[in-house]
């Protein structure tokens, strides 16, 4: 089976093509076409097929990570959106949690007030009210009022409508009925409901997620339809699958129905790529570490499973999203991060970035500030003549000039300054990893770090050493791991139901009934997607907390029918998870079942291995020796450092650090006291010596 992965990034669109029966893969990079990214995608698909002699008509699947939804939100360019909600609750998405973004600021803006997804004038209210605990109707829905609201919105030129009622997660009848009415009045509009988007409690977060879905809905729909059409026009008969934020892919139909699934589409694939590399290398516990020009993304993978965020921790452009989502922590630290002295005189690196334009001073595009990339050049770790495989020339002198200027301000020698920049940015990254691991009761010392992105392999080893992580795995193509990750996905759908049940009075048959209903819903969905039942599997979870708490922990639930006996194990698992995460448990306290969740996985063909590297000897891979600066025993020292062609490294032969491995999409740094060797799957594994 022939499959293509296409990942659209800010600067480049990355592609990878593979035949699942063979292990040969082809990669390709093309400039992203920001006006309509599908142009770049289509050109890329045609090019990669032509260059490798593959008939586009023979491609079975195209997997695609898109930033259309993300960019629409970040740039505040979505649909003109309306909302229909309960009488008395017009301003839930405007008041939010009545909390300011910053503690210490008078001049701050609140995203939900300064850039509302739905302007107040387009928030219409109608009588109708449901109440807990079962979603019973207190006030019937005023259907006439819904109709009037829809007519007003239509007259006001609204393209998308979110229908958001309180307690719809318990009973979606009012929202469903309102949707029918609105759709009939506004047949061309994108209409969604909060219970369709995410049936979980917390109205501000749910209504906002629904408003986000409506805000991006028309744009995502247009994009997907356009791409689908363009593929057909180009003779590609492949099925299109879109990367979703939950770490799986979804069909075009699913994505147009639930566009909010793609809000983190671009980020999710990187972690998957890292997970696959770790699996090939036989490592069960992984930290994926993806560094680009402006940011670093951190993900955790344990036993092949991606960590998922809790319902309260995800946001985009300041708007909360409650949807099952893989947990990716992003910080402003990358190759373009700017080193500077702040107004109080402290030495800082980032979060400001020189980005791709003007980029680091070395790019010679007008960058005048010291960046992390410039520091790496000054230390000799990046080869200015061979950046991106020589595709881009770097100006070493410019790097030296800007670093010397900063050094003079700091009163440090230039080499100390350059190495200081690396130390600070690495410490920032280590702190970020710390917050995703140690802070959550995970000991990173038992993990391998998978270094991804253009700059991940350059910083991975030193960051790992700071955290006591013993080894770093660098995939064959670190710079296009997202595209590669797309080829490792399954069709993944989630269903969630809020329960609010107490362990002392739990109604097990209700939980079982809800699980059954959710599972049947997903089975129906997979049928629609033409996935055979034998290829579908389910996992069950519950979000639990002690009665009274406000944050839940996700705990696995038995796959079969829950019984009085098996639920006891669930409670035990929760106590244990609580102790692991927070260092404490409350054994006597009752537990509340907040949500139950079922995750379906529909297996689809994927990339499972890479060709064994063909390098024959280390000597053949050797390019040259150059001086590089490292800190050893607290002092800076210059080392003669071997530079090697990554693709020519033989399998299993140790290379002692310091060494630099170059390839077109990334550069790998092996520091002193570390060793590296290529494995049979094309990855390079760096083993770290004792910390210095």
């Amino acid at each position: 089976m022939k499959i293509i992965g296409v990942d659209v990034g800010g600067t480049f669109t990355d592609l990878i093509l593979c035949d699942t029966r063979k292990s040969r893969v082809f990669t390709y990079k093309i400039a992203t076409t920001p006006n309509d990214p599908s142009d770049g995608v289509m050109t890329g698909v045609s090019d990669i097929c032509r260059l490798n002699g593959v008939d586009p008509g023979d491609i079975d699947y195209v997997f695609h990570g898109t930033t259309t939804a993300t960019n629409a939100v970040l740039e505040n360019k979505g649909a003109r959106t309306g909302m229909i909600t309960n009488e008395g609750f017009r301003d839930i998405i405007h008041i939010g949690r009545h909390q300011r973004v910053h503690h210490y600021s008078i001049m701050q803006e609140l995203p939900w007030q300064n850039r509302p997804l739905v302007a107040r004038r387009y928030r219409k209210t109608v009588p109708g009210r449901l109440i807990p605990p079962s979603g019973e109707e207190l006030v019937p829905l005023d259907e006439g009022a819904v109709q009037n609201a829809a007519r007003e919105l239509k007259a006001e030129g609204i393209d998308a409508v979110a229908i958001c009622f309180l307690f719809s997660y318990l009973n979606s009848a009012h929202e469903d009925r309102a949707r029918e009415i609105v759709q009939a009045e506004m047949p061309d509009a994108f209409v969604t409901t909060s219970s369709h988007v995410s049936p979980q409690f917390r109205e501000f977060e749910r209504f906002t997620t629904a408003a986000l879905a409506a805000f991006i809905g028309p744009k995502v729909e247009r994009y997907i339809n356009h791409l689908n059409r363009a593929m057909r026009d180009a003779g590609v008969r492949a099925d299109l699958r879109i990367m979703a934020s939950n770490g799986g892919v979804a069909t075009p139909e699913m994505v147009t129905s639930k566009p909010a699934l793609t809000l983190m589409s671009g980020l999710a694939a990187g972690v998957l790529g890292g997970a696959m590399i770790g699996k090939l290398a036989g490592r069960k516990r992984l930290i994926t570490f993806d560094i680009g020009g402006t940011s670093a993304d951190i993900g955790i993978v344990i036993d092949g499973r991606l960590a998922e965020t809790d319902a309260r921790s995800t946001s985009i452009a300041g708007f909360p999203i409650i949807l099952p989502m893989i947990d990716i922590h992003t910080i402003g630290a990358g190759g373009g991060s700017i080193a500077h002295i702040d107004p109080g005189g402290a030495f800082r690196v980032g979060p400001q970035s020189a980005g791709a334009v003007p980029g680091p001073a070395a790019y010679g595009n007008g960058g005048t500030e010291s960046t992390v990339t410039d520091a790496n050049i000054v230390l000799g770790r990046l080869d200015p003549d061979n950046f991106l495989g020589g595709a881009m020339k770097m100006d070493e002198e410019r790097s030296k000039t800007v670093i010397s200027r900063l050094a003079a301000q700091l009163g440090l020698p230039p080499s100390e300054t350059a190495e200081g920049i690396i130390t600070i940015i690495n410490a920032n990254m280590a702190n970020a990893i710390h917050s995703q691991t140690v802070q959550k009761g995970i000991d990173p010392r038992g993990f391998a770090l998978v270094a991804l992105g253009g700059a991940g392999p350059l910083h991975g080893a030193e960051v790992a050493r700071q955290l006591g992580i013993p080894e770093v795995i660098v995939p064959p193509f670190p710079g296009i791991t997202s595209a590669m990750g797309l080829l490792t996905t399954d069709l993944k759908y989630d269903e969630v139901r809020t329960q609010f049940q107490n362990s002392r009075s739990v109604n097990i048959s209700k939980v079982n009934a809800d699980f059954c209903e959710m599972e049947e819903k997903l089975i129906g969905q997979y049928k629609l997607d033409k996935i055979a039942a034998s290829k579908v599997s389910f996992r069950r979870f519950a979000d639990l907390r002690y009665v009274g708490q406000g944050y839940e922990l996700k705990v696995p639930m038995p796959a079969d029918k829950l019984t009085v006996k098996s639920i006891q194990k669930v409670w035990d698992a929760f106590h244990k998870a609580h102790r692991r995460e927070y260092g404490h448990s409350f054994m006597e306290s009752p537990i509340e079942v907040v949500n139950i969740q079922i995750s379906g996985t529909g297996k689809i063909p994927k990339l499972t291995r890479f060709e064994k590297p063909s390098g024959t000897s280390v000597d053949k891979a050797f390019l040259r020796s150059k001086p590089c600066i490292f800190r050893v025993d607290g002092k800076l020292r210059e080392f003669a450092t071997g530079f090697y062609r990554r693709d020519l490294l033989p399998v299993g032969k140790k290379i002692k650090g310091p060494a630099v491995l170059v390839q077109t999409d990334s550069t790998t740094l092996v520091p002193p006291d570390a060793t590296a060797k290529a494995d049979e799957f094309g990855s390079v594994v760096i083993s770290l010596g004792k910390a210095k």
Binding site: I95, H103, M107, A119, R121, P132, P343, A427, F586
Partner: protein
């Protein structure tokens, strides 16, 4: 990393800039981890949702090293005072801190913010030497005061009536729990399950902070660590000094008034002035509260000088002079406050004497912050907002099968207009920054129905930049119960600035089963409610900023379409004529010319 890099002497710092930055980052991570764990582990919504908690590390003298970004400023800010209070109390008692101690403290005359904000303090030792403290504070739902809940105790006549007092009480000593204290707690606190659970969470979070603190100092060595800490304080101090130095020297003063207790005839109980005089001299600033009303010996709106007044002042100065939007996250530590001197005559509302009650000091304190901003508006008009709408805190309670339920909710205020920005609508103001509770959470767990939660229509204060809009929330009891409330701002309107209009006061109505409504004052001691009765809270609206006639007519139109102002107000206050949902520009220009 133990060996120091190139000397830092050339920069006048103790530690090289790279190591300093790395240690600062690590300290911040620790405080965040403590907050993260406390918030997620805790039981009562006042901590986990409202985020009314603080976490910080201090040095052995109580100087703050770092604080958690998630915590509310009025909780982290007082932590140094808690530590100093504990050390002083122990010394007076002939006791000292020892490894394995967990010390509980809530003495408002000993550095604590007020009785319900209980601090748990764990000393950190390295090689038998005290290197500092790991401290968490949090607002507890009930501390055994005269009526249910820990807010709206507006009838307390002295600190004894405010609930249990802990003065450097060792709840664990040399690693052994003092069970007697826990028994006293359980026997004297309503809703003990929640409160004790929250306390356990606080201790667990402080223990994590202590462990991380210790290993950080071990990693870098005490000398480097202490050097980095002193540098960090100097750094924050330098920023504050630079900001003050930019202000013209001089004296700037402002007065605002609080409602107090309008139902008491005696004039010393109501319409109380809060006066702030700023004296800027070079890179230092003196904040003088002379002229503020006298303390009230038998009503709990006195503000502890340490723990409330000082924090209100520090936080407001920093929010205005070192606004995070412009300056980023500046480390909050004791260096930041060095250039600031506070003068509050003993015996005034802002420097009361034991045992004058203080439990309801929250809203007067926020009014003090607002008054300080008003004084600063004369110096840095482009960095302030017009007058803010103050807050109110309500405790809902009742009995369910003989067990108490208590729920606290902070009723939001709003900001005044700002230079280039309208006021923030329906938010916590100045020194508070808590979160509300979801309607769906409250109705699922409490015998309350929320009938509405929305913004007020047609009340935004006019200005070139309009004032923020307050909210309306209505709570109906589904079972018999009660509430108590403490607030301010029912009588005095938020101030307008440079031609902006005054804002609108908050209001509180009690609606009977017959539908009749009764206005209530901003402070209501415990009040019984029957099933079917409602409480309706109208939030205050902040003042306007600048001349309304200078407001962009399109913004006026938008406010009319969004029902923040009425078409009549558009005409009367802004001189903007709207026809068919459009601005009639010629008519508007003409109208504005005539003004």
């Amino acid at each position: 990393m133990k060996k120091s890099r190139k000397s830092a002497e050339s920069n006048g710092t103790r530690v090289d800039p790279v190591t300093a930055t790395v240690i600062h980052g690590a300290l911040e991570s620790i405080a965040i981890e403590m907050g993260h764990k406390l918030m997620r582990m805790s039981y009562s919504s006042i901590i986990r949702e409202s985020e009314d908690f603080g976490t910080a590390l201090t040095d052995p003298q109580g100087r703050q090293l770092c604080e958690c970004k998630m915590s509310t400023p009025l909780q982290s800010g007082p932590i140094p005072g808690y530590v100093r209070g504990i050390l002083k109390t122990l010394a007076e008692r002939g006791d000292k801190v020892e490894p394995g101690d967990v010390i509980m403290h809530n003495d408002p005359y000993g550095g604590a913010s007020h009785g319900p904000d209980i601090g748990f303090c764990i000393p950190v030792f390295l090689n038998k030497k005290l290197i500092g403290f790991s401290v968490t504070t949090a607002h507890h739902l009930d501390v055994g005061a005269l009526t249910p809940g820990s807010c709206g105790i507006v009838d307390a006549v002295d600190t004894y009536a405010e609930g249990l007092q802990f003065k450097a009480t060792k709840i664990a000593s040399l690693g052994k729990r003092n069970e007697a204290v826990w028994q006293i707690l359980r026997s004297n606190i309503r809703a003990p399950e929640l409160v004790v659970g929250d306390m356990e969470a606080q201790i667990a979070a402080a223990e994590i902070g202590a462990a991380r603190f210790k290993s950080l100092v071990q990693q870098y060595g005490e000398k480097t660590f202490n050097g980095a800490f002193e540098d960090l304080m100097d750094y924050s101090e330098r920023l504050m000094r630079n900001a003050i130095a930019e202000l013209p020297d001089g004296e700037y003063s402002a007065t605002t008034f609080i409602d107090g207790f309008p139902d008491i005839d005696d004039p010393k109980y109501h319409d109380l002035p809060i006066k702030v005089t700023l004296r800027v001299r070079g890179d230092e600033i003196e904040v003088d509260l002379t002229g503020t009303a006298d303390e009230i010996p038998d009503k709990p709106i006195n503000m502890p000088l340490e723990g409330t007044v000082d924090c209100a002042i520090w936080l407001t100065l920093r929010s205005i002079l070192l606004d995070s939007v412009k300056y980023g996250d500046i480390p909050q530590n004791s260096g930041l406050t060095r250039p600031i001197t506070i003068k509050a005559p003993n015996g005034c509302l802002a420097n009361p004497n034991f045992p004058s009650p203080v439990i309801a000091r929250f809203c007067p304190g926020n009014q003090l912050a607002d008054t300080l901003m008003k004084a600063l508006s004369q110096v840095v008009p482009e960095q302030v907002s017009a007058g803010i709408g103050n807050l109110r805190i309500v405790a809902f309670s009742g009995l369910n099968k003989g067990e108490h339920w208590v729920h606290m909710e902070i009723l939001e205020g709003s900001y005044g207009g700002r230079n280039g920005l309208d006021g923030m609508d329906a938010v916590d103001t100045l020194y508070a920054n808590t979160r509300n509770n979801p309607v769906e959470d409250m109705e699922s767990h409490l015998p309350l129905r929320i009938d509405c939660y929305k913004l007020r229509n047609d009340v935004a204060a006019a200005g070139k930049w309009r004032g923020g809009v307050g909210s309306v929330r209505q709570f109906t009891y589904l079972a018999d119960g009660g509430f108590s409330i403490e607030g301010e701002g029912h009588i005095y309107r938020p101030w307008g600035f440079e031609g902006g209009h005054e804002g609108t006061t908050g209001q509180l109505k009690l609606v009977g089963i017959d539908g009749n409504a009764k206005d209530m004052a901003s402070k209501v001691p415990y009040h019984r409610m029957s099933a079917g009765q409602s409480l309706v809270a109208y939030g205050p609206c902040g003042g306007g900023y600048g001349n309304p006639l200078e407001r962009d007519p399109e913004k006026v139109l938008a406010d009319v379409l969004d029902e923040f102002i009425s078409p009549e107000a558009a005409k009367a206050a802004y001189g903007v004529i709207i026809r068919d949902c459009k601005v009639d520009m010629p008519a508007t220009t003409q109208m504005r010319m005539q003004r």
